[in-house]
């Protein structure tokens, strides 16, 4: 037994069916997994005890991620390997604990995130240059937030790392701002391309995956 509950951060991936569950439902899924795991999770005291789980950057429903984080506390000494092993035994397929450790950063330190967008479109090779072209200038979008819709240029918050064709799909690697105030949802870029170039069209399937998260400098990997 620890004298103080100890903070733990778990880096995890969210793929497959898990892509389609909301932040709230992820919370429920993790809560029941905690109980199945019988890990020494710290619960809040009082009327309605619950594990105090905090997640980093919420993910849009439909977006996969290889780099998610959640913080909680444990009441007993336990290794990161043990935590990952026991969580993976009880996580549904699509949810994987990758690493568990005592965090030295805050979620507030997150500044940027990488995404991979894959589009199943006709003649993807023909689209590489037009997409490069379209994303090289201003990227003006309508951003809807709680306070209303604003028209902004997200080009300063966007870096296009790569555009290529793989397995017949058009692949975009994007490096996007991920701060609370200037969060760029990859959906903005996709909607921008649909309006500019018509891809992905209504019948074209596409996937989005968050592949890495960085600190404010955009270079130091967040963990």
């Amino acid at each position: 037994m620890l004298s103080q509950p100890q903070k733990i951060r778990v880096m995890f991936s969210k793929t497959g069916s898990l892509k389609f569950i909301s932040h709230l439902d992820l919370n429920r899924t993790v809560k029941s997994a905690f109980l199945r795991s019988r890990l020494p999770i710290w619960y809040t005291q009082g009327f309605n005890p619950h594990p105090k789980t905090v997640f980093s950057l919420p993910l849009s429903v439909g977006t996969a991620s290889l780099s998610e984080f959640m913080d909680f506390r444990v009441t007993e000494e336990i290794t990161g390997e043990q935590i990952c092993k026991r969580l993976n035994e009880v996580f549904p397929e699509g949810l994987r604990a990758l690493e568990a450790y005592t965090p030295t950063t805050k979620f507030h330190d997150i500044g940027w995130a990488d995404y991979e967008v894959r589009m199943e479109i006709a003649d993807p090779s023909d689209m590489v240059d037009p997409v490069k072209q379209a994303l090289s200038g201003e990227i003006v979008i309508d951003k809807t937030t709680k306070i209303g819709t604003r028209t902004i240029d997200i080009a300063p918050l966007t870096r296009v790392d790569d555009i290529f064709v793989e397995n017949g799909e058009l692949v975009l690697r994007l490096h996007l701002s991920a701060t609370t105030d200037n969060y760029v949802n990859p959906k903005y870029i996709i909607d921008f391309l649909t309006s500019k170039l018509g891809i992905p069209g209504e019948k074209d399937d596409y996937t989005v995956c968050r592949t890495a998260v960085y600190q404010a400098d955009g270079e130091t990997i967040f963990r």
């Binding site: 389609f20 699509g94 996937t207």
Partner: protein
Amino acid sequence: MKIPERILKKVEKPARYTGGEWGQTVKDKNAVDVRFAFCFPDTYEIGMSNLGVRILYHVLNSREDTWAERAYAPWVDMEEAMRAENIPLWAHESGDPLREFDILGFSIQYELCYTNVLNMLDLAGIPLLSSERDESHPIIMAGGPCTYNAEPIADYFDLCMIGEGEEVIDELVTLYKEHKKRGFVRTEYLHDAAKIEGVYVPSLYTPSYNEDGTLASVTPLYDDIPTKIKKRIIKDMDKSPFPNKLVMPFIETVQDKITLEVYRGCIRGCRFCQAGMVWRPVREKSVEVLTKQAEALADATGYDEMTLSSLSISDYTCIDHLTDELLKWTDERKISLSLPSLRVDSFTKELMDKISTVRTGSLTFAPEAGTQRLRDVINKNVEKDDLLRACRVAFEGGKSQVKLYFMQGLPTETNEDLDGIKDLAESVIHEYYQTPNRPKKAPGVTISAACFIPKPFTPFQWEPQCEMETLLEKQKYLDDKINDRKIKYNYHDAKVSRIEAVFARGDRKLNKALAKAHEMGLRFDGWDEHFHYEKWLEAFEAVGIDPSFYANREFGEEELLPWDNIDIGVTKEFFLRERHRAYAETTTKNCRLNCNGCGANQLGGERSCCPSLKK
């Protein structure tokens, strides 16, 4: 998962459709002999909550030769996308189209889901009518409470399981496998299935009608199938299969918790209640078995809530012992216990202290009728003082809100009985102010009034439902009378209740009305936003059916009823006797105080309360 992601990104609650939940069973489809899909004709959230499906999913997946999966009615947004792109209805685990399966088993819980059954078959690309299906199509079977009168849906199902399914579903799958091995012929399979106790193959029974539209006879097609189909029960509930894990939904469902089934049947005998009759005889599980099952499910699911389930939980003979045993570990594991609605005569402070539902929300009691006279007619065996005492216990325990369930349009009901509903609610408010240590809040009583629907296999099966106008008048009468703002009056839509009444006591002629309703695009009738009464009337008219014949007609005591070829163990003589006692305003004692000779003891059963079976 084969649904394009762009569709999943577009629809409401995509996790309804993806599968992949913790606890689902995935097998190699090439390594099994029989592929089965449980089809629930309502949304995922409702279907996932069904205990029957949870149990049978476990039963079939315990077989090495069978893979059982799940399918639900897609919500209208998903249906639109599926129809636009010709995506056939699929099973959640494999993502394979349902039409490739060997058997589809529909769970039929309420009449208002019938159009969803047709819509699901249609979306799966399977012919709706049993007579139009051949060896290339799955066998379509039905189970659940509505199969006690399956006549209105008889044309769409190849076979129905009557009664409790744990054993019979296993036998049907074994028989299927045998037939498949020697070259499957649909008609031969159905003929053999009809010989299994508890299996009803509607196509093998031909009804004929009198000139007035009532049933004249039902003739079996073969000599070697029973004329009367006897329901199946599990004799020893301790030995009955119970799941040791559950599929854990990603999204919140209706019953998002462990449901621990404590016993089957009911000792009470309320005269309107079908469940209380068709689940007879009472059969209890032992505390030892229940504690073991509860612990296994807590380990396997990670749920933090467990509800003890049965028709009248406080009638369980060992309720104190059971709750004590469970509380030994549930608190420490942060699992809260809850109980479904309680009988007022058995609601005690001790019980309330143990259950956590009491901590939050309101308490629900079901007096069902407003006066003692009418409560005697329906054999509720609950008195006003019991209710007030129970409410006082609740108020002393910190509650200020009470919900009361009633039924309107019960046989013999008068305005005096409606006044009684109002008086009862006012007495509860009065009781609140008489309770010295009540909470420092304003009290509230919510009256929730359903419309009486005569159901097969009850003493009220012959009763007419009130005419729509009468039901509406009754609702308006009470609405006008209640002017205390602390009392809230909610009532069910009389139109919905009428359609339910039509199908509850329907015969085979209704199949064509259903086909018409489906053709007109009706589905999700149980959902306000999709229920269209006028369209239903149009559908009935189009096929020449008068809904009043089923809903508002007093059935003759000598009449052959559409469900008379089903034997639930409880006799028609008993129902008649009870009906006459109702009119005499005479109550009947509960099964534990006195055996009333309903006939269910003939079915046997361990830990039952039937006297002739006591060792």
